[in-house]
Structures are given as structure tokens and as C-alpha cells.
């Protein structure tokens, strides 16, 4: 692979040595990933399969796979469908919130990405910078901003009262589903827009012009040409917003803080804080990982293929 130099330079003749050099270069990174990605996930399996020390109330992981027990799995299963099932509603709520939030995000994000990629003209650079700006503002600050606005005497209530839409101030931060969904949309929309923009921007404008020349009007050109060509970026964009939304617990805690709106992430977070519930937290994380595994694999494969095509 090194061409002529390999054959002429005696040092490089041995193909094994050649490989060893590149392997050696990546070795520290590989070792790091093994120790801090693979081992931790094995630790989750060990904790999930282990027991709780009855005196200390702390998890006792089972490092030997042969001694993994199913007690914690049974416990979680009981929580989902059993008599005192508190997890079932939480899972349904998580799915509903994420579905509503990602649909809203797409409905808002697509037109914006479409406009900036196709029509922004001279303002394209400015608009791109403005679309990117939220990336550089920490998520916590963006939530804090809404906490300010949604206070009982905050600007949202004052504007709504001024317009006579509401009579008395609404306690937006007291456990409103709408507030949590708003937070999710606001938090993750910039990521979606960027993926959509990148996809829409790659569409060859001559395809769209061809459609127009063949007599399609603006709406039909969009439906017949632009939309099909951007389907892939809609899917990856939704994945990139849905995956973190499902694991989100902080948006909920900050904007609502009541159990009436808690999502699956809140349950896991709560279980980690009580050490006697940590095995259940481990099981729940594994379940979540199991459910998300397929979409994650899909995302990895698609983006990998895209980068191969791009090269």
C-alpha cells in the first residue's frame, strides 16, 4: 500500500511491522475505550445481575456471568406490568412526550432549514451563525432562561394576560406537561435543524429546477423532489434528537420537578441516588439500551455509509 517506496526501502519491507506501527498508534485509544466503555457496560450487567447487601443496602455486583440472578429484572418487570406498576405510566408518558416534542421539532425545524438552505441568499452566513448560536449556549442556561420567562410574574404570563388569553397567571413550572414538551423542543431543535440543513443543502438545485421546468408548481416540486431527497436527513435528524430526549431527566426536573411529569430518565436518576435501588437502575438502563440499540445501530451504519460516499 505504500507503493514504490516500500519496495525500495529495506526498512519497510516487512508488512507485519508496517501494520504494527499503525496498531501501536491507535493502541492507547483502543485500550482507553476497552477500559472505559466496555468494562463499564460489563459492570452494569454485573450490578443488574447481582444483589443488594441487606445490611448496608448497597449493590453487590456479580462479576461471574454464571452467578447472574434475575431478581432485579423480575422487580423491574413487576414495576412495569405488576399490581403496583408505577413504571408503566412513566414509560407511556416518556413515549408521548418524546413523540410530541420530536414531531413539533420537525414541523418547526424543517421549514427553517429549508429556507436557510435554499432561499437565504445574502443572509445565509448570518442565518447559519444564528442557527448555530444555541450550540454554544449551555443547555442549563437555555433552561434557566425559560425558568425566568415562565415564573408566575414572568413575561410569558404577563404577555398572555395582556392579550386576555388567560385570566390569572398560570403556574407553568408546577408540573405542566406542556412546559416539559416545550423544554424538550427548545432544547433539542437546534440539533435537528442542523442535520436537516446539511441534508437539504446537499440537494442538487438543478434537480429542483428541472422539476419546475417540467411544469410542477412550488408545492408539488417540494412534495415530489425535495421531500423525497431529504428523507434520509429527516430520519437521522429525528434519531439525533429522539435518542437524547429519551435519556433526558434534567429538562423535566428543572421545568417541572414533580413526579406527575417524570420520564424514564427521572426514574433511573432517582434509583441511582438511593443505593438500595441501584440494581433496578442498572436493569432499567439496560432495558433502555436494549430498546435503543437498533436505532443506534441504524444511525451508525447510515452515517458510516454517508462518510464513505462522501469520500
Amino acid at each position: 500500500m505504500w507503493g514504490r517506496a516500500d519496495r525500495s526501502a529495506p526498512v519497510d519491507r516487512d508488512p507485519l511491522r508496517h501494520r504494527a506501527f499503525w496498531a501501536g498508534l491507535s493502541a492507547p485509544g483502543i485500550a482507553w475505550l476497552a477500559v472505559f466503555v466496555l468494562v463499564p457496560f460489563y459492570a452494569v450487567l454485573a450490578v443488574a445481575g447481582g444483589q443488594i447487601n441487606e445490611v448496608l443496602g448497597t449493590p453487590v455486583p456479580a462479576w461471574n456471568p454464571l452467578s447472574w440472578g434475575g431478581a432485579a429484572y423480575q422487580g423491574v418487570f413487576g414495576d412495569i406490568v405488576g399490581a403496583g406498576a408505577f413504571l408503566g405510566p412513566v414509560i407511556v408518558r416518556t413515549l408521548v412526550y418524546v413523540a410530541v416534542a420530536s414531531t413539533l421539532a420537525l414541523l418547526i425545524g424543517y421549514p427553517v432549514a429549508y429556507y436557510v438552505s435554499r432561499f437565504a441568499g445574502k443572509r445565509r452566513g448570518l442565518l447559519l451563525a444564528l442557527l448555530l448560536a444555541p450550540f454554544w449556549v449551555s443547555y442549563m442556561m437555555r433552561m434557566l432562561a425559560w425558568i425566568d420567562l415562565l415564573q408566575s410574574d414572568g413575561y410569558v404570563n404577563r404577555v398572555l394576560q395582556g392579550l386576555h388569553i388567560i385570566g390569572s397567571p398560570v403556574n407553568w413550572l408546577g408540573g405542566e406537561s406542556a412546559t416539559v414538551v416545550l423544554g424538550l423542543v427548545y432544547g433539542y431543535l437546534p440539533y435537528l435543524i442542523l442535520v436537516l440543513f446539511a441534508g437539504l443543502d446537499r440537494i442538487d438545485p438543478s434537480l429542483i429546477e428541472a422539476g419546475r421546468d417540467l411544469g410542477l408548481n412550488r408545492a408539488r416540486t417540494f412534495v415530489r423532489i425535495t421531500l423525497p431527497l431529504s428523507r434520509q436527513s429527516i430520519v437521522t435528524g429525528l434519531l439525533i434528537t429522539v435518542l437524547p430526549m429519551i435519556g433526558d431527566y434534567y429538562t423535566n426536573t428543572m421545568l417541572s420537578g414533580t413526579s406527575g411529569t417524570s420520564m424514564i430518565g427521572n426514574v433511573i436518576d432517582g434509583q441511582l441516588q438511593a443505593s438500595s435501588l441501584q440494581t433496578q437502575g442498572a436493569v432499567l438502563s439496560l432495558l433502555l439500551l436494549g430498546v435503543l440499540l437498533l436505532p443506534m445501530l441504524y444511525y451508525v451504519i447510515v452515517t458510516n455509509r454517508a462518510s464513505v460516499v462522501a469520500s
Binding site: R4, S26, L33, F36, V137, M140
Partner: protein, 312 residues
């Protein structure tokens, strides 16, 4: 790109053959400005940025309220003897901890990720593919699941590493090492192998070829990923939330989070968040300008710089 599109649009078009009905009702200009889309986009921009601007404004509020303006002051930054960022030891320590984590993580993750990317890209064996898969996978895993795994490993197996700064740095490096790995690899693909081959033809050893030819060419990508890692750590919340322990190991994001439960935060938090914003923007701004300077003369440098800095 956009220039050619506008040009094509203004080309004189052949007179279309029209039906009687169309002649009676003149067709709307097909290349008219999409006024609705334009307005919608600007409304979105306003909605996405105005709340942040208001939050920054209220960090200068001369009162305890985050929703009623009581005049301008610097009391939440410096002058308030108890609760300002300067005088409250918790807030003060949080700023230091955030910067400490960001610097340590960047310093460790960048060499690790760059070496990994170069090695994996040129190695092309099965182990390389597996390692790359693990890396990309750790990139798309929801952060909560990843943080849970690290939380358990530090609590049950690597027990000598207590939760705190060390655990945070180890976790953050693992979570962020994908940035240099992915960005540098993308750049390696566009560079190709001919430069190294030329260096080898001229008698350079493999290490010399990497150090003297490849690394300088990768510099913009390495630099960009450094900025992304740095600001990624400043922005990070889930990992540091689960892996920090006592107050001095909690960075700004955790302090803001744990003080806003139930919406009882004061403007000092806005001041803290504004400082975070400032650090991020300085990092991003200098990063962007330096990146453009490094890649000056390259085609599409502005768009590429923007998209590199967005991580897409």
C-alpha cells in the same frame, strides 16, 4: 453555490405555451420570495435566542427577581458580599472546576483521539474496524446510559477512583474522545495517502511522515476538535452530575441545575450562566477565526468552518 442558483433563476425563460384558462388568470411569479418561510425563520431565530438574551439581561438585575426588572447593577457578579459569583464560595469554586475539567479533558482527549484516528484509518484491519465501531457507538449512546455505566464502574470496580474530579475527567475524556477521532478521520480521508507516500519516497520514516507531513496538514481539524471538546465539557451536564461528589467537584452546570429545583433560583445563577456563555463564545469565536485563518485559501472555507464547528 448560492450565487449560481440565483443566476440561473434570473435567466430569461422561453415563453410557455399556455391554455386559455391560464391566460385568463395570470400565474403567480414562480420565483417569488417565500415571504411566509422567511418570516417563519426569523420568528424561530427570535424564539431561540430572545430567552437567552433576557436571561443575560436579568443577571444584571438590581434585585432578587428573575422576572421583574429592577434596574442595572453588577451585584450578582461582584458587589453582593454574600451571593455574588465573586463572593459565594460555591459559585466561585464551580467556575474554577468547570475550567479545570475543560482544560484537563482537552489535554488528554486530543492526543488520544488524534493518534487513534490516524492509527485506525491507516491500519485497516478487523480489530481497527471493531475499535472504530466501539468509538462511534459510544458517540451515539444516550449520555444517561453511558453515565450510568461509568457511575457503576467507579462505584464497584475501580473503587480507588472515587467520584470526584478524577472520575469526572476520565468519564469526560471517554465521552469526548470521539470528537477528535471522527473529525480527524474525516480530514484524513480527504487528504488521502499521497503526501505520506511522497514523504516516504523522499526517505522519511513512517513516524517522520506522520509527524512532519500528516500532523501539520491535520492541524485545523485537530484544533477544531479541541475547541469542540473544550466547549463540550463546559456544556456537559449528565456525566458530571453523576460522577461529581461534593460541592467543590461540581462544575457550573451542576450548580445551576441543583439550585433551580422548583424555580427558586436567583440572578446569581444567571450571572454564573452568563459567565459560562462568555467562556463558550470566546472559545468558539477564537476557534472559528483561527480555523478560518488556518484553512485560508481553501474552497468553501466559511461553510466548512461553520459546519466543522457545529460538529456535522
Amino acid at each position: 453555490m448560492s450565487g449560481t442558483r440565483v443566476g440561473t433563476r434570473e435567466l430569461p425563460r422561453a415563453a410557455p405555451t399556455t391554455t386559455r384558462a391560464q391566460r385568463l388568470r395570470p400565474r403567480r411569479n414562480p420565483w417569488r420570495r417565500p415571504v411566509f418561510l422567511e418570516g417563519f425563520t426569523w420568528l424561530y431565530v427570535l424564539w431561540s435566542l430572545a430567552p437567552i438574551a433576557i436571561a443575560v439581561l436579568f443577571s444584571f438585575n438590581n434585585g432578587k427577581s428573575q422576572s421583574v426588572w429592577q434596574g442595572f447593577s453588577m451585584r450578582w457578579y461582584t458587589t453582593d458580599p454574600l451571593n455574588s459569583v465573586l463572593h459565594d464560595p460555591t459559585l466561585h469554586a464551580a467556575v474554577a472546576q468547570t475550567i479545570r475539567l475543560a482544560v484537563l479533558t482537552t489535554v488528554i482527549a486530543i492526543p488520544l483521539g488524534v493518534a487513534f484516528a490516524i492509527g485506525i484509518d491507516r491500519w485497516r484491519g478487523r480489530p481497527a474496524k471493531v475499535a472504530n465501531f466501539v468509538m462511534v457507538f459510544s458517540f451515539v449512546i444516550p449520555e444517561l446510559i453511558f453515565a450510568v455505566a461509568l457511575f457503576f464502574v467507579f462505584n464497584t470496580l475501580f473503587v480507588t477512583v472515587h467520584l470526584g474530579t478524577t472520575a469526572e475527567v476520565l468519564g469526560l475524556v471517554t465521552w469526548n474522545v470521539s470528537w477528535p477521532a471522527i473529525i480527524v478521520r474525516a480530514r484524513l480521508v480527504t487528504i488521502g495517502r499521497q503526501y505520506e507516500e511522497a514523504a516516504a519516497d523522499l526517505g522519511a520514516s513512517r513516524l517522520q511522515a506522520v509527524r512532519r507531513v500528516l500532523l501539520p496538514m491535520l492541524m485545523p481539524a485537530i484544533f477544531a476538535s479541541g475547541v469542540l471538546v473544550f466547549s463540550g465539557v463546559i456544556d456537559d451536564f449528565v456525566l458530571v452530575d453523576l460522577l461529581s461528589s461534593t460541592a467543590p467537584t461540581q462544575p457550573m452546570s451542576v450548580i445551576i441545575y441543583s439550585n433551580t429545583h422548583g424555580g427558586n433560583s436567583g440572578p446569581a445563577l444567571n450571572a454564573l450562566a452568563t459567565l459560562m456563555l462568555l467562556v463558550s463564545f470566546v472559545a468558539a469565536g477564537t476557534g472559528f477565526l483561527a480555523y478560518r485563518w488556518m484553512t485560508r485559501g481553501e474552497r468553501n472555507s466559511q461553510d466548512e468552518a461553520l459546519s466543522t464547528f457545529a460538529g456535522v
